[in-house]
Symmetry: D2
Subunit: 301 residues, 4 copies
C-alpha cells in the first residue's frame, strides 16, 4: 500500500473581464466572469514543488484578457472554446482544459424614448453561463460545449397542485390543489457538437423555459421541470441534453383566523430555508456521450 | 456620575410578506420585506426585565401580515404609513414608529406574445424601498415618508472624464478624459407631506435617474449625482430632498502591451474593492425639517 | 425656492490593507479593511465638475497603505485617528474626516504544541472595529474615537424567559419561562477622549459582553443588553457610551408529537427571518457630547 | 430518436436542526444544516405528475428533526448515515439516498475562568461537514461516509516561494522566493468503511492540516496541499482518500516607492478576485472504489 496523487487540476477563477466594442457610435458591452482550469502532467508540482510544467494562474488570467482583445467575445461559448483549445493545443503539459464563463447582461438606457449609444443598465437578474471542455486525443481533441443560465426567478400564483403523494409515519403535509409555486431556475444544456448559433439559441431557450413554466398546469415541480426541458429539446435539435436544478421556494399561507380575517390565498410568508431541491436531466436517447462535460470543479469540494 | 439608558428601539426585521391580489383572472403580486421599529416607554424592559409595556416583535410580524390582508398593499408607502400610524395610535407606550419596506418587483411572463395572468419573472435588479416615520405629538402626529431604490446598476462606456483634481504627495492617479463610469445607485427621496401619487412617482424618478446618468457628460461622479438629484426635484415638486449614494465601481484598462496588443479602451478589469463612495443630498432651500427621517436603525451599529 | 446641494461626503471604501510586522523571527499581522470619508469644500465638484479641491479617492487609498508602513498599525484606533487627523490637517478643503477600520483577527497555528512564528489561522468569527472622526475647529480639531465588534454570535440554551408582555388583538405568542436565546452582537463604544489603552480595552470589553450574556438570567433581550452595556461602563471609566444592536435569532421548538415523540426543549428549528432587532445605548449622564460620532455614512442610503 | 428522462434526484435542502442535550447541568449543543437527497423510481412524478411514489420533501424535513430527537446527534457522520439508511430501507421507491450535514461549532463562554454550563459562543470560522451515501444493493446496501471541513482560513507571512514555472508569451509574473501564502481550505475525506471514531478523527485531521500548512516550506500551493493530504492519510489508516480545494488568495506587495518608502514585505493589498484555485486528491493505491461518493448535487447545476 502506498499513498498516491489522484485527480488534480488548477486554474484562475473569477477573472472579471469587461470587453467594450466601440467601433461605431453604438458601443456594445460583454461583462464576464471567467474561470479556467487545467488538467495534465502536474504531478511534479505536487510531489516535488517543481513548477517547470506549470503555467501560472496569473498567465491564465493574462490570456483571458488578451483573447478578449485579440479574438473578441462575440458569444461567450465561442470565447470559452477558443481559450480552452489554446491551453490544450499550445501548453505542452496540458491534457484537458475547462473554461467557465458567466455573463452579466446589460441593456441600453432609454433617453427620450431612444436607446442610448453608450449608457447601460443591468438587465434582469439571471446570469448567462457557458462552459467549454477540451480534452487532448490522438488526432482531434474531444470537445464539449455547454450553455446555461442561473438565477431565473419565477413564480406562479396559482395553477400548481401537490397531492396524492407517498406518506409515511413522518408525513404531516396537507394536500393542496392550489398553491404558490416559486423557484430560481438553474439550467445548463449540452450541444451535440461544438458549433451552433449560440447567440440565437440562448434567448430562445430562456423564453421556452419561461413560457413552459407559465403554461404547464403543475402537479409537481418535477413535472414542470420535465416539461420545460422537453420543450427545449423539441425546439433545438442541436441540444443533446439539458439539466435543470430548481429550489422549491416555499410560500406558506399565513393563518389570519386569530385576527378575524379569512385568507383565501392572498397573504403568504416567503420562507428562506429549508427548501425543496428538485433536479433532473432531460436528454435524447441517441445523445453523444457526455464525457467530462458535467464533472464540475466542485467535485473537489 | 451614573450610568443611564440612552436611545433605544426594538422591532421585527425582515418579515417576508407576499400579497397576491386574485380578484379577477389577472393576479397581481406585492413581494415585500417589512421591518418595523418602535420607540417609546421601554425603559422598564431594559432596567428591570418588565415586559408589561412591550408589544412582542412577534405581534409586530402578525400585524404586518394582517394589515397586508385587511388594508392591502396598493403602494408600499401607503402600507408602511398605515402600519406606522397604527403602532403610534393604538399601542400606548409607543411614542414613535418606523416602518421600512423593500419591494421585489415582478413582471408577467409572456406566452405566445401575451402577458400571462398568473405567472411572473423577477423584474430587474433594483429594489424599491419605502419608509414611514410617525412621531406622537400633541394634536396630530408628525409624519415623514421616504421612497427609494437600491441596486440600480448602471455603466457608461464613455462620456466620463476625471482630471484637474487636487494632488498631494500620495497622489499617483493619472488624469483621464475618457473612462468607464459604473455604479450601483442607492437613492432615497423625502416628500414634503405624507401623501402623493407614489405609484406614478416611483417609475418617473427611476427613469429620470437613468436618463440623467446617461445624458450628463461626467466630469466627476459627484457632478453626475448632483445632476441626477436636481432633475428629480425639478420634475417632482412634492419631493423635498433626495439623497444619493453611489460606489464608483472601478474598471481598470488592462495593459496588453506585453502581448503586442493595443488596448484603446476595449478590455477592462472590473475590480471589487476598494471602491470610491460618493454621497450627497440635493434639496429645496425651503424644505420642511427632516426630523428623524434620515436617522437609520443603523446608527446603533 | 431653489434647489441646493445639501450634506455630502466622499471617500474610498474597503481598502484591504494587510500589514506584516517581520522585525524578528516572530511575525505579527494586522489584516484590515479601511474606509475613509471626507467632508468639506466640495460643492464645486458637484455643481460644476470642478475637481480642483478634490483629493482623489485613489490618493486616499495610497495614503492608507503608506501610513500602514510609515506609522504602523499598533492598534486600529490609533491608525484610524492618525489617518483622519492627516486629512483634516493637511488637505486644505477637508473640514472633517471619518476613518472606519475593520480588523480580521488571526491566531498562531500550533505545531507540536508551540505557536508557529509565521503561520496563522483566522481567529473566531467576530470582527473588531474602530472609527475616528476629526472635525476642524478654531484651535484644536474636535476628535471622537469609537471601538467595537460585530458578528459575536452567542447562544444560551436556557436561562431565558419571556412573559408578561403587552398583548393586543394581533398577539398570539405564548409566554415562556424557558427558551433558547441567541443573537449576534454588534457593539460600539465611544471614548471620552481620543487616547486610551485600546489594545487592552478591546479584549476586556469582549469578555465582559460574553460573561454578562452568560450570567444574566434573561427576562428579555432588552434587559440582557442593558446589563452587558452597564458592566462595560462600570469596568472602563474611559468609555462614555456603548451602543448595542442584537438580532433575536429565533429558535422554535419543533412539534414532534405527530411522531409520538416528546420534545422537552431538545430539538429546535433555527429560523433565518424575520428576527427581532433590539437596540440600545448605555451611557454616562455626564458623557461629553457625541457630535458626529454616531452619524454613519449609511445615513445617505 | 426520442426525448427521455435522465438522472434525477430530489430532497430537502438546508433544514436547520439545533439539538440541545440537557440531561445534566452541562448542556451540549449540535447546530446543524441538513440536506437530504433521494434517487429512485421517480419517473412517474416527472412524466405524469404522479406523486404516488414521492415522499414529500416536507416529510424529509420532519424526519431530520425526529431522528435528531429519537436517535440523537452524537456525531454528524452517524446521524447522516442513520438518516440515509432509513430512506433506502424504509421508503420503497428510494434506491439511493445522500445526506449532507454542516455543523456550526460552539464553545462554552468562560465566566470567571470557568466554562459556563449553558452559554456558548460560536467557535472559529470553519464548518465541519459530513456526508453519507447509501445505495440499495442485493443483500447489504453500499455505503460511503465522508467527513470534511471548509472555510479554514490560513496564512503564512513567509516560507513560500514561487519560481521556475513554465512561461509562454502571456507570462508576465515575476518569480519570487518570499511571498505571502493565504488560502481558505476545503477538505473532504472518505473512509474505507462506514464506521470510525468520527469524533476523534475530526480534530486530529484539522490539526494535521494546520500543522502541515505551517511547517511545509512551500514551493507551490500544489505541493503544500499534497503534503497536507499525505500527512492525513499517514496518520489515519481508516481514511481512503482526501480531496483538497484551496483558493490562492493573492496578497500583492504595494509599491510605496512613489511615496519615498521601501516596502520590504510589510504592506500588502489583499485582493478578492481573481484567485488561483488548486485542487487535488490524495489517496491510497488500494482504496476501495469511490462509487457515488464524490458525485455532488452540484452536477445538476
Amino acid at each position: 500500500m502506498s499513498i498516491v496523487l489522484g485527480a488534480n487540476q488548477y486554474g484562475k477563477a473569477e477573472t472579471r473581464v469587461v470587453r467594450i466594442y466601440r467601433d461605431g457610435p453604438e458601443h456594445e458591452i460583454r461583462d464576464l466572469n471567467v474561470s479556467t482550469s487545467l488538467r495534465g502532467e502536474f504531478a511534479a508540482a505536487h510531489l516535488r514543488g517543481d513548477q517547470s510544467g506549470v503555467l501560472p494562474t496569473d498567465t491564465q488570467k493574462n490570456t483571458a484578457y488578451a483573447y478578449a482583445r485579440a479574438h473578441g467575445v462575440a458569444e461567450i461559448e465561442a470565447y470559452a472554446l477558443t481559450l480552452a483549445r489554446h491551453f490544450v493545443a499550445d501548453i505542452a503539459p496540458v491534457r484537458a482544459a475547462r473554461v467557465d464563463v458567466d455573463e452579466y447582461r446589460w441593456q441600453r438606457i432609454a433617453v427620450d424614448g431612444a436607446p442610448h449609444p453608450h449608457a447601460f443598465v443591468r438587465a434582469g437578474q439571471e446570469i448567462r453561463m457557458a462552459s467549454a471542455i477540451v480534452e487532448e486525443r490522438a488526432g482531434e481533441p474531444a470537445v464539449w460545449v455547454l450553455s446555461g443560465l442561473r438565477d431565473l426567478v419565477v413564480l406562479k400564483s396559482t395553477g400548481s397542485e401537490f397531492h396524492g403523494f407517498l406518506a409515511d409515519r413522518y408525513t404531516t403535509l396537507a394536500e393542496t390543489t392550489d398553491r404558490v409555486l416559486a423557484t430560481s431556475v438553474t439550467a445548463r444544456w449540452r450541444y451535440d457538437r461544438p458549433a451552433a448559433d449560440w447567440g440565437a439559441i440562448y434567448p430562445s431557450v430562456r423564453q421556452i423555459l419561461l413560457a413552459r413554466f407559465a403554461a404547464v398546469h403543475s402537479l409537481a415541480l418535477q413535472q414542470t421541470l420535465w416539461e420545460m426541458g422537453r420543450a427545449v429539446l423539441e425546439a433545438h435539435p442541436q441540444i443533446a441534453e439539458i439539466r435543470l436544478s430548481a429550489p422549491n421556494k416555499h410560500h406558506f399561507l399565513v393563518d389570519l383566523a386569530p385576527f378575524g380575517l379569512e385568507n383565501p390565498g392572498e397573504v403568504f410568508h416567503a420562507d428562506d430555508r429549508p427548501y425543496g431541491l428538485i433536479q433532473c436531466a432531460v436528454q435524447r436517447d441517441d445523445a453523444p456521450p457526455a464525457g467530462a462535460a458535467w464533472e464540475p470543479a466542485a467535485s473537489f469540494a
